[in-house]
């Protein structure tokens, strides 16, 4: 690290205003990360003032908790594999072949990416509940079979539902890597006599292998941290995962110290996996050797063009069409499991949700307030951090970058346990206010926001700023007239990312909310426990509508390409 500092010197020297920035950033990061995690670790080993490993012993000796641990391992592993099985072929098809409708597929991928997984899980309860589920009924009607086609309330059902919302991570990772490998590299092998399969086996796959492995790890991380889907699908089937178990430990009488002791292994596991992924990606340098400049030629699929498209659409049907359809149906019917007839049609669910159910308005206001607040503060903070690290303005800027990315290893539930312990006691009593949710969201969204911002500023050549300086503009003026306008669309995109992340957040909210600080995801979860399907569907659709409005806004902002220099 020290060597890098020397090789890449500061571009703008003579900044002696670093101290306050440092103090602010350090303080913010301490409040957001170190304090909660510190308390978490402390509580997990303390018992009435003395240090003990009793909580850990208790946690790991308890057969129920062992079971939850094991369930989580199974879930995460299979979700990783399933995400690869879906994501890799689709990425290859859309990056390398003449598959029709690629834009559509990528668009649907985006939709799947932003769909809150717990909504998907909820929709799949209605689609594939073993008896009342739409698909199972259809199957029974068609075949006359007794047994259901699928039982969503099972480990395999859970794996399936988690995987169809996790594979876009793999897709994006692989598609981007494939985009970077120029076709010449493959053609070089062809000309030397390798057949198509051999090219794939000896050139393409080894080159994307690190991306595949790291995609696997990313999917595993997602599955480890997820709360909503297991809560909706695993609990009715009578099993826990780590996240739902931690949540259950909070039930009255709360066993905070056990929850803390149970959180630490999860935290370590995610940190370890991430480290591994970094190592893999770090050695990937060769994948971009070909660089963006290389030509890419599409592989003709021939007869398989349309079957391949159909396959892709089938996957998207599972994650988009079917769930959205059933949500719409549930929102518009009296009894969701009954056929959609005139007698069954109603708008009462909308009326109830928006006008009678008093939590709705509170939750919507809270959610939007938190979304806007977190997105504004977050986008500002990460922009500042990314600017500092990119322009190397203060010494030790790399540490800031590292800390901004660090929360990516903290699962929402674990973060929430830490925040709960840290902020239910003086000096900072944030529990019961929107403040604690704000802190949780800010921390959770920081890595995503930071990488967005980092990419933004990386795309703004420092010479653009220097050109302004040498022509007579001061530092602040350059920041205002050149840097800010250039970074604006990127910053707005970051804003949108954070906002979308916030409004769908469940796993931390579920532990940190109080009746006055309910948010939409929590209300949906509350309604789920009560079995109010119609209202959930309405709120879910509302949440999706807000999300897609933001996505469309973001794409139109980024798509308008007057920033031609990027090409």
């Amino acid at each position: 690290m020290a060597d890098r500092l020397q090789v890449f010197p500061s571009r703008l020297e003579g900044m002696d205003r670093s101290a306050p920035v440092w103090v602010m950033a350090a303080l913010a990061l301490a409040l957001l990360i170190l304090l909660p995690l510190g308390w978490l670790a402390y509580v997990s080993v303390s018992s009435e003032g003395s240090l003990t490993l009793a909580h850990y012993r208790k946690v790991f000796m308890d057969p129920r908790l062992q079971k939850a641990l094991w369930n989580t391992v199974i879930l995460a592993f299979w979700v990783g594999l399933a995400s690869l099985a879906i994501g890799v072929p689709m990425a290859w098809l859309s990056a390398r072949t003449n598959l029709p409708g690629k834009r559509l597929i990528r668009g649907l991928m985006m939709a799947s990416f932003v769909t809150p997984p717990f909504l998907g899980a909820f929709a799949w309860v209605m689609l594939a509940g073993p008896n009342a589920g739409f698909l199972n009924k259809l199957y029974r009607n068609l075949t006359g079979a007794e047994e259901p086609l699928v039982n969503i309330f099972s480990m395999s059902g859970l794996i399936f539902v988690v995987a169809i919302y996790t594979f876009p991570y793999v897709f994006i990772m692989i598609a981007n890597t494939l985009d970077l490998i120029a076709s010449d590299l493959e053609e070089a092998a062809s000309i030397l006599g390798a057949g198509r399969l051999q090219v794939a086996l000896t050139i393409t796959i080894p080159m994307v292998a690190p991306a595949i492995l790291s995609g696997f790890i990313l999917a595993v991380l997602q599955a480890l941290a997820l709360f909503g889907s297991p809560a909706i699908l695993a609990l009715p089937a009578g099993f826990h995962t780590i996240t739902t178990q931690i949540w259950a430990l909070f039930h009255y009488p709360p066993k905070t110290e056990m929850a803390a002791a149970f959180s630490i292994p999860l935290l370590l596991a995610t940190a370890l996996l991430l480290l591994l992924q970094k190592k893999l990606l770090g050695r990937r340098g060769y994948a971009s050797v070909g660089g963006k400049g290389g030509q890419r030629r599409e592989i003709p699929l021939g007869f398989w063009r349309y079957p391949a498209l159909l396959g892709c659409l089938a996957v998207m049907a599972c994650s988009i069409f079917l769930p959205y359809g059933i949500l719409a149906k549930a929102a518009l019917s009296r009894a969701w499991a009954q056929p959609m007839t005139w007698e069954n049609f109603t708008l009462a669910n909308f009326w109830f949700t928006f006008f009678e159910y008093s939590s709705t308005r509170l939750a919507i206001v809270n959610t939007l307030e938190l979304g806007i607040m977190t997105a504004c503060v977050g986008a500002g903070l990460v922009a500042l951090l990314a600017y500092i690290t990119n322009r190397k303005i203060i010494p030790g800027h790399q540490i800031l970058g590292f800390l901004a990315l660090a929360p990516v290893v903290i699962p929402g539930v674990v973060l929430a346990v830490g925040l709960f312990i840290a902020y239910t006691r003086p000096p900072l009593l944030l529990y019961g206010t929107l403040g604690i949710l704000f802190v949780a969201y800010l921390t959770k969204e920081m890595p995503v926001g930071y990488s967005q911002s980092d990419a933004t500023f990386r795309g703004i050549h420092p010479e653009l700023e220097e050109a302004g300086r040498i022509l007579g503009a001061g530092r602040l003026r350059v920041l205002r007239e050149i840097t800010a306008p250039l970074a604006l669309s990127g910053i707005i995109a970051t804003w949108c990312f954070i906002f979308i992340g916030v409004i769908r957040e469940l796993s931390a909210s579920i532990i940190l909310f109080t009746p006055n600080t309910k948010v939409m995801s929590v209300v949906i979860f509350d309604l789920k426990e009560e079995g109010q399907f119609g209202a959930i569907a309405v709120l879910g659709l509302f949440m999706l509508a807000v999300t897609f409005a933001i996505v469309v806004l973001m794409q139109s902002l980024l798509g308008r390409d007057f920033l031609g220099a990027k090409e």
Binding site: E463, E466, I470, L471, G472, A473, R475, I482, A565
Partner: protein, 363 residues
């Protein structure tokens, strides 16, 4: 119009010195190129002059103003300079006119009408009248380059800095732009520092060239000076192609290597000292047997050798010749009319004035 004086300039990154004790003088109205391979410190020097970096030692003066010293650095915006960047650094969110007019905002003495007039005028000079309201992203590389030039010139800077401005253009356009930049320099007469690693470019454009190596200026002079009288092995090789012959001074005006004895351009060599000679390939003449008499009468060095390889290049023939009686292999550029076979024995004539002993032979 002030000049630029750089005294003992030093810039270190950690233990590595990018610029070390650099001295350089640019006369008012002069265009000086900083020429050298990558890592020689030329860009760092330019950025020090621009005020983006702070030196560890030394001073930069423009006219009677000291702009940089280890104690204070006048910020870039108050240096009355303009710079053309390698990436052009055109602001993609401003039109061509907006880019060009930007620097004029800080010239409070100009009225709005004056500014507009100036923008129009410079657009005409760089032949971009029709692109005024387009965005940089919509222009070709050459057009973008001209916008960058216009943006720098329109503010009428005291000093103009150029950082490899042609390196992003393709070969044909680059040659054209060399003359264009020289023409603009002659028209505006702004004191200019020009950074490049391309010796041909430097030779076309510059009044004088400073060759940099390891953060120091190893030689400075006009293109002709540098080409004809390189002081060091490094300069001789960096500016144009050359043959280097390492020998011993056997007389004050003679250098010997093995069986080869060459009379050289100067007569003050220390006898017994090792001397390196630079002989440009095109200064070696291939002579037919019947001409040998005339050639020796002229006092040229006469050598015999065997053709190892000859390549026809259209406007010349490039050959390598193993000189008899030594291990010296000379590269010769001969007129295209001559034809050689490999292994053929030929005679070579080299005028003593073409054998340049290098002052800093060791370097």
């Amino acid at each position: 119009m002030p000049g630029v004086t750089i005294k003992g300039l030093t810039k270190r990154y950690g233990d590595v010195a990018a610029v070390e004790g650099l001295d350089l003088q640019v006369k008012p109205g002069e265009l000086v190129s900083l020429l050298g391979p990558s890592g020689c410190g030329k860009t760092t020097t330019l950025r020090l002059v621009a005020g983006f970096l702070k030196p560890e030692a030394g001073e930069i003066w423009v006219g009677d103003r000291c702009l940089s010293s280890p104690i204070t650095v006048v910020p870039p915006e108050r240096r009355r300079m303009a710079m053309i960047f390698q990436s052009y650094a055109l602001w993609p969110h401003m039109t061509v006119a907006g880019n060009i007019a930007y620097g004029l905002r800080f010239k409070k003495e100009l009225s709005k009408a004056d500014r507009e007039k100036r923008v129009k005028e410079i657009l005409r000079i760089v032949q971009l009248e029709l692109s005024e309201s387009r965005y940089p992203g919509e222009l070709s590389g050459g057009q973008q380059q001209r916008v960058a030039v216009a943006r720098a010139l329109v503010v009428e800077p005291e000093i103009l800095l150029l950082d490899e401005p042609l390196s992003n253009l393709d070969a044909n356009l680059r040659e054209e732009m060399r003359f264009e930049i020289r023409r603009l320099h002659e028209a505006f007469g702004i004191t200019t520092l020009y950074v490049t690693h391309d010796q041909a470019e430097a030779m076309v454009i510059s009044d004088r060239i400073a060759v940099l190596r390891g953060g120091r200026a190893v030689q400075m002079g006009t293109a002709e000076d540098l080409f004809q009288r390189p002081r060091s092995r490094f300069v001789a090789e960096f500016i144009g192609k050359t043959n280097l012959v390492d020998g011993i001074a056997t007389e004050p005006g003679v250098v010997t290597r093995g069986g080869v004895r060459l009379r050289v351009a100067s007569a003050d060599l220390t006898v017994g000292a090792p001397v390196a000679l630079s002989i440009r390939p095109h200064m070696i003449e291939l002579v037919a047997d019947h001409q040998i008499g005339t050639v020796s009468a002229r006092g040229d060095n006469l050598l015999r050798g065997t053709v190892q390889r000859a390549s026809y290049l259209g406007d010349a023939v490039d050959c390598q010749i193993q000189v008899e009686g030594s291990d010296v292999i000379l590269r010769v550029v001969a007129p295209p009319g001559l034809r050689f076979r490999q292994g053929e024995t030929v005679s070579l004539a080299v005028a003593p004035s073409a054998c340049i002993p290098l002052v800093e032979s060791a370097v």
